[in-house]
């Protein structure tokens, strides 16, 4: 039986198969990047079908406007760290360390912010509320992987 991996909360527009496509496994929009650079989570994820993905591709950097979620690529992702217990995403740990080291960690929210994917989120399953505390500070920066960036 196929195992459905947890969802990556910082996927790319091309990081998942559009909803409705053959083998589609639920690429979706889970947040909107606000003017201050933080992410406002949607209370309900918006599925991204093929037509919507094509439309979003007309924008230069859709990942800097939207947060996408898609099934975790695990070994197919450079942030995956294999281990005896099956491996984990190393990215959220680095983000937490960076935010802590910057000395500018946001004040702890009184509660968890709304999240459309928490129950199946890879970061939540690994780090729990500590992941949520930094999650809204994260956007994907495609320029990091561009030649010469």
């Amino acid at each position: 039986m196929n195992r459905t991996p947890p969802l990556c909360p910082s996927a790319t527009l091309d990081g998942g198969v559009p909803t409705g496509a053959a083998g589609g496994d639920g690429l979706r929009i889970i947040g909107l990047v606000a003017a201050d650079g933080t992410v406002s989570n949607l209370r309900t994820a918006l599925p991204v079908d093929a037509a919507m993905r094509a439309a979003l591709h007309s924008h230069a950097r859709p990942e800097q406007r939207f947060r996408f979620a898609a099934p975790c690529a695990e070994q197919g992702c450079g942030n995956w760290q294999a281990g005896d217990t099956g491996g984990h995403c190393a990215l959220v740990g680095r983000i937490r360390s960076h935010v802590a080291a910057s000395g500018a960690a946001p004040a702890a929210p009184p509660g968890l912010q709304p999240c459309a994917i928490r129950a199946s989120c890879r970061w939540w399953q690994q780090d729990g509320p500590a992941a949520c505390a930094v999650c809204t500070l994260v956007t994907y920066n495609a320029a990091d992987n561009a030649p010469g960036a």
């Binding site: 606000a34 919507m52 690529a73 070994q75 992702c77």
Partner: protein, 102 residues
């Protein structure tokens, strides 16, 4: 809270019609949101990108294996962190110099 409701009353819709309408509404909303730009965002992201966060590149082995390599490069942007930006300035300059010399 931004919430939009379309009340169709007693109109009978098939599942297909319902899904089609929902998809069209989602597409319209996303289109509007996508078209509104955020001029300060890229600069802030780039600044912290050069702060030495060390995000991994896609795994080339996995890519060759045909897996959906997802370049999970994310950037934590801490609002109003002048100290971080000051630290980031030097690595950014160093990085540029390295590229030029390379």
């Amino acid at each position: 809270m931004a919430r939009f409701v379309v009340d169709l009353g007693n109109v009978k819709l098939s599942d297909e019609e319902h899904n089609g309408i929902a998809s069209a509404i989602h597409a319209a909303v996303i289109g509007h949101l996508a078209s509104s730009t955020n001029p300060g965002l890229h600069a802030a992201t780039k600044t912290l990108n050069h702060a030495g966060m060390g995000f991994a590149a896609p795994n080339p082995v996995a890519t060759r294996a045909g897996k959906a390599a997802v370049a999970q490069t994310a950037v934590a942007k801490v609002a109003a962190t002048r100290a971080v930006k000051a630290v980031a300035a030097k690595p950014a300059a160093t990085s540029r110099a390295a590229r030029k010399s390379g």
